[in-house]
C-alpha cells in the first residue's frame, strides 16, 4: 500500500494538503501524499454533487480513514463538473496513487486568477519541512 513520498512539479498546492492540476479553465483536485499518509488507508469518500459551486478554501467533501474524518479543502473556486466515482467505490486508490488514479473531482474555474495564489511544489515541500 505504501507509495513513495512525492510532490510532482507540475501541480499546484494548497497549505491544507490539497493539490490542483490546472488545465486551462479547468482543474483536477486531490489530496497530497502527506495528507493520505497522515490519514492512513481511506475507507470513505463523501463527494460533492456535480454542479455544486465551491469557493476557494471551502470544504467540498470529506474523506475518512478508520480513525479520522477530514474535510476536503478546495484550493480554487469553481463548479464541480466531474466526480471520480472510482474513489467512491475504492477509496484506497487515493493511498495507492494520490496524484493519478486517486484524483477526486474536476472543477471549472470561476476565478482563474486564484491560481497564482497557490504554492508550487518547492514551496509546499518547504511548508512540510517547517511543520
Amino acid at each position: 500500500m505504501a507509495v513513495a513520498e512525492t510532490y510532482p512539479d507540475e501541480l499546484r498546492y494548497h497549505p491544507e494538503h490539497d493539490w490542483a492540476r490546472i488545465d486551462g479553465y479547468e482543474a483536477t483536485l486531490g489530496i497530497t501524499w502527506f495528507a493520505q499518509d497522515s490519514l492512513g488507508e481511506l475507507v470513505h469518500f463523501e463527494p460533492p454533487d456535480e454542479g455544486t459551486r465551491i469557493g476557494k478554501n471551502d470544504a467540498y467533501g470529506e474523506v475518512e480513514s478508520v480513525k479520522a474524518v477530514s474535510d476536503l479543502i478546495s484550493p480554487l473556486s469553481g463548479e464541480v463538473i466531474e466526480v471520480n466515482e472510482k474513489i467512491v467505490e475504492a477509496p484506497e486508490t487515493v493511498n495507492e496513487d494520490p496524484y493519478g488514479e486517486g484524483w477526486l473531482v474536476r472543477i471549472r474555474l470561476t476565478e482563474p486568477g486564484e491560481v497564482d495564489s497557490l504554492l508550487d511544489a518547492a514551496a509546499y515541500r518547504q511548508l512540510l519541512e517547517e511543520q
Partner: protein
C-alpha cells in the same frame, strides 16, 4: 500538562515505526503498518497487542471472595481456581464503574484486570470498601500484558487448546508468564501476563513466532465487530448493565451493589437499549452522532471484514429489535442503518477455545 506514561515496550513500538498517540494517560501505538492489515492479520492468522497499560489489582485474604462477591455483578462463587470471569463493578444505581475480568488464583487471592482509564477509580472504590480480612493492592506496575489473538495464535505459540476463561502459569520460550485464555477480539487467543522486566523479551519472542504487531486502532475495530462494549464509550457509571445488554453477567439472585436497582430495571423493561447496527448506505458512523427518534451512537467505525460502517447505539426500546431501520445524522446528512443481532461479525466455522 501531565506526562504520558510508557509501557515497558515503548522503545520497541517506536523502533517498529508505530504511530504513538495518547490513550488513557499512556503513550500507546495506534497502528504500525495500518489498521486494516493489522485487523486482517488477527482475523486470519495472529496478531499481538501491547496492553500493558491495563491495570492489575490483587485482592487477598480470607474475606477477599466475600468482598468481591458484594461488589461485582457476576457470581464469583461459581469460579474455581484457574478460572476467570467477565464481570462488572457496579454503583448503587446499577451503573457500570468498570468492566473487568476477575481471575481466581486461590480461594483467598484474586486478580482483577481492569481498564487503564479506571485503574485508580477501581482501586479507590475497592479500597474504600475493604473489609477485615481483605487487602486490595494495585500491582499494575509490576506487569506487562500482551494479547496474542487470532485463529493461528495457539499454534504460533505452541500452546494446547484450553477452555475460554481458563488460565495457568506457563512459559513461552523459557519466559515465565501467566497464560490467560481471554481477549477482546472475538478470536481464539491468549493474554500473557509477564513481569515488567521480561515483557520486552517476551514481545520479541512472540514476534519471532510470526505474530504481527497490532495497535489500538485494530483493537477497536476488532472489538466493535464482535460487539464487546468499550467502557467510556458504550458503558459507564451513567449506563446500567441491563440497558447495555450485559444482564448475562449480572447474577441478580445474589447481593451486590446496585442489584436491587438492576432487578427493577429488568422487571420494568429498560426504556432504551444498546444495539448493534450496520450502515445500509455508504457512511461511517462515529461516537456522538444522533439517531432519529431519540438515540445516540456510542461507538462507530468502518468494519474491515464487512467493508461497511458499523456501530453501537442506544436507541428507544421500540426501535431495538434486529431488523429495525435507523436513521443516523452523519454531519447533517441522514443515512440509513439497520439493527442487527450481536455479534456484527461472526466467523463461518466454529473454532474451539475461543474467548
Amino acid at each position: 500538562m501531565q506526562t504520558l506514561l510508557r509501557t515497558p515496550l515503548y522503545d520497541r513500538h517506536v523502533a517498529l515505526g508505530a504511530r504513538m498517540v495518547p490513550f488513557a494517560g499512556w503513550e500507546m501505538p495506534v497502528q504500525y503498518e495500518g489498521v486494516i492489515p493489522e485487523h486482517r492479520a488477527v482475523r486470519s492468522d495472529c496478531g499481538v497487542f501491547d496492553v500493558s497499560h491495563m491495570g492489575e489489582l490483587e485482592v487477598e485474604g480470607p474475606q477477599a471472595g466475600a468482598l468481591l462477591q458484594s461488589l461485582l455483578s457476576n457470581d464469583l462463587d461459581r469460579l474455581e481456581d484457574g478460572r476467570a470471569q467477565y464481570t462488572l463493578l457496579t454503583n448503587e444505581s446499577g451503573g457500570i464503574v468498570d468492566d473487568l475480568i476477575v481471575y481466581r488464583l486461590t480461594p483467598f487471592r484474586y486478580l482483577l484486570i481492569v481498564n487503564a482509564a479506571n485503574r485508580e477509580t477501581d482501586f479507590d472504590w475497592l479500597k474504600e470498601r475493604e473489609i477485615r480480612g481483605s487487602d486490595v493492592r494495585d500491582v499494575s506496575d509490576d506487569y506487562g500484558l500482551l494479547a496474542v489473538q487470532g485463529p493461528h495464535s495457539l499454534e504460533r505459540l505452541t500452546l494446547p487448546d484450553a477452555p475460554a476463561f481458563s488460565f495457568a502459569e506457563g512459559e513461552i520460550d523459557g519466559i515465565s508468564c501467566m497464560i490467560n485464555r481471554t481477549g477482546y477480539t472475538g478470536e481464539t487467543g491468549v493474554e500473557l501476563m509477564v513481569s515488567a522486566e521480561d515483557a520486552g523479551e517476551l514481545w520479541d519472542r512472540v514476534l519471532d513466532r510470526g505474530a504481527k504487531p497490532a495497535g489500538l486502532g485494530a483493537r477497536d475495530t476488532l472489538r466493535l465487530e464482535v460487539c464487546y462494549p468499550l467502557h467510556g464509550n458504550d458503558i459507564g457509571p451513567e449506563t446500567d448493565a441491563i440497558s447495555a445488554g450485559l444482564g448475562w453477567v449480572c447474577a441478580l439472585d445474589t447481593r451486590f451493589t446496585g442489584a436491587e436497582e438492576l432487578r427493577r430495571i429488568k422487571a420494568d423493561g429498560p426504556s432504551r437499549r444498546l444495539v448493534a447496527f450496520v450502515m445500509e448506505e455508504r457512511a461511517i458512523p462515529r461516537q456522538g452522532m444522533t439517531v432519529e427518534g431519540g438515540g445516540e451512537v456510542t461507538s462507530g467505525t468502518h468494519s474491515p471484514m464487512l467493508d461497511r460502517g458499523i456501530g453501537l447505539a442506544y436507541v428507544p426500546a421500540a426501535l431495538s429489535d434486529p431488523g429495525h431501520e435507523l436513521t443516523i445524522d452523519v454531519r447533517g446528512r441522514p443515512r440509513r442503518a439497520r439493527v442487527v443481532p450481536k455479534p456484527i461479525y461472526k466467523r463461518e466455522e466454529t473454532p474451539s477455545g475461543s474467548g
